[in-house]
């Protein structure tokens, strides 16, 4: 099972085993990682699973869809490496992925 490391805004790291084929957001929510609210449950319809993808992983993770781009444009502290974690599907190729969380989800 591919691993993901979530780093909270205060620096606390959580490494979890994710399920290939499921989203990065699921990896956080199903393992009770704090800092991912995921209000819409993975519909790309809010922006409360916002993460910053570690620059080393950005190319492998890929870019945003148009809808995701719009939702992220309303979030706080959006950066070039911002993604909605419900829109990143885990694969074995992403084993070891590192993402950081913003100060709060909005």
């Amino acid at each position: 099972m591919p691993k993901i490391t979530f780093i909270e805004h205060n620096g606390t790291a959580h490494t979890v085993e994710a399920v290939a084929g499921q989203s990065v957001m699921r990896g956080a929510v199903d393992n009770n990682v704090p800092g991912i609210d995921a209000d819409c449950g993975g519909e790309c319809a809010c922006a409360t699973c916002h993460v910053y993808v570690d620059p080393a992983w950005q190319a492998k993770v890929g870019g945003r869809s148009e809808t995701e781009e719009t939702m992220l444009s309303f979030a706080a502290g959006t950066e070039d490496n911002s993604r909605l974690s419900c829109q990143i599907t885990m694969t074995d190729a992403l084993d070891g992925l590192v993402v950081r969380m913003p100060a709060g989800q909005h």
């Binding site: 449950g41 519909e43 319809a45 444009s73 909005h106």
Partner: protein, 419 residues
């Protein structure tokens, strides 16, 4: 006092299940004031979840009653428009003779540009700065409440607190703060004899006073360096500083109503819900950490805005039904939040649900409530302060409810704090 008797509830249940589906009208303000709308939605979710109503005081409209169908409409803003000129965002069409353009009733890209101007004030970073002020004000209000005697929770707590909060966000003259409450109520009320405003003309006169008052604040702030309050943000924001007076008024009213009614009614709704489910309150008293899930659960249970409306811009299929371009489409959040297929025991308040944040009260997609985190923070602070003092608050009678299919709220709720 408008007490809802058991007979009213029983009669509503009978009517809900015995009326032919084709004649069922759920968009009836009286049903909501009587708290008798529930069985109507129960039936629609079960027998005709995407339901066409041919005739109502609001004209023909579609009812979307299931969670997933509502999500599908809410996230499809390219087909389902919020545009004020098509009717806007509530079942009552926006009046053409007194247009109030506001970003909630715009579509992208204009909506997106204006929303981004106000969004930072309610983002987590700014909320952390506001928290201290909100808590102090909540403490003062709670400590000033009478002990051992009856008072109106809506007026003394819900209205007072949300009004103070609004005054803080706008940096509005504090002594005049109840004007904000008045303008909020005037915006959403139905004009008519004996009502809050008697005529549409009266409404427009009062709202022009609101515009004039804020225009003074605007002039004062547009000539001063940018500050963190909403008026200053609008006056200096690139996409908002050239708004027309009507657009300025529209967006102000959006922020006033958005920041006022909803939180107000969730504050009353929370206390009312705990009076209906006292064992949940005992659970919370025993473990204050449950507040993090109790707050979104209260917001789901209350659903302070019963619906949002869209207008179809193209033919579309929702829940197997053919919706035509031009049709009025009502997303009944109040029903989706009681959808048994998505939420277990949806009629009950359960403060430790596994996924309490998955509710429709804030909407989803580009129009999702911009102030949702502020609302949650306000509610959380109030309940923290109540729990700290371990106040025993008794609801003395059924609350009086708002006559509206849009604002799902309370006008009065007598309570007593046991001394």
């Amino acid at each position: 006092m408008n007490h809802v008797s058991m007979d009213t509830v029983r009669a509503a249940r009978e009517r809900a299940w015995n009326t032919p589906l084709a004649e069922l009208v759920v968009a009836d303000p009286q049903l909501f004031q009587d708290n008798a709308h529930w069985p109507f939605f129960e039936r629609l979710r079960k027998e005709d979840p995407v339901h066409f109503c041919r005739e109502s005081e609001f004209g023909p409209y579609w009812s979307i009653t299931k969670y997933k169908d509502i999500m599908a409409v809410d996230t499809n803003h390219k087909v389902f428009s919020s545009l004020s000129t098509l009717g806007g965002i509530s079942i009552r069409d926006q009046r053409a003779d007194f247009p109030l353009p506001m970003f909630i009733a715009m579509d992208p890209p204009r909506h997106d540009e204006q929303r981004k101007v106000v969004s930072p004030i309610v983002a987590p970073g700014n909320l952390a700065i506001l928290e201290h002020t909100i808590r102090e004000r909540a403490q003062t209000i709670i400590d000033g409440l009478p002990r051992g005697e009856e008072f109106d929770w809506v007026d003394r707590v819900s209205i007072e607190l949300t009004t103070q909060m609004l005054a803080t966000l706008f940096d509005f003259p504090f002594h005049d703060r109840r004007k904000l409450t008045r303008w909020s109520d005037v915006t959403t009320t139905i004009a008519g004899p004996g009502g809050l405003v008697e005529t549409e003309e009266q409404r427009q006169t009062e709202l022009r006073e609101c515009a004039a008052y804020f225009m003074n604040l605007w002039n004062e702030r547009v000539n001063a360096p940018p500050r963190g309050d909403l008026v200053s943000m609008l006056a200096h924001g690139e996409s908002t500083r050239n708004m027309t007076p009507q657009e300025f008024l529209g967006n102000l009213l959006l922020l006033i109503v958005g920041g006022n009614d909803t939180t107000r009614n969730s504050l009353t709704g929370g206390l009312y819900a705990f009076s209906q489910f006292p064992e949940q309150y005992q659970k919370l008293r025993a473990n204050h950490d449950l507040l993090d899930s109790a707050i979104p659960e209260i917001i789901r249970w209350q659903t302070p805005l019963a619906h949002m409306r869209r207008t179809a811009m193209a033919d579309a299929v929702v829940g197997g039904k053919q919706i035509k371009a031009g049709d009025k489409v009502i997303m009944w959040y109040v029903s989706g939040n009681r959808d048994e297929d998505m939420i277990e025991n949806p009629n009950e308040l359960v403060i430790d649900r596994a996924r309490p944040r998955q509710h429709l009260s804030f909407g989803f997609g580009v129009h999702r409530c911009v102030g949702n985190r502020l609302a949650e923070m306000q509610l959380k602070i109030v309940w923290e302060e109540i729990l700290k003092r371990d106040l025993d608050i008794e609801v003395l009678a059924e609350p009086d409810r708002v006559l509206s299919t849009f604002i799902k709220g309370y006008t009065k709720m007598p309570v007593r704090i046991r001394s």
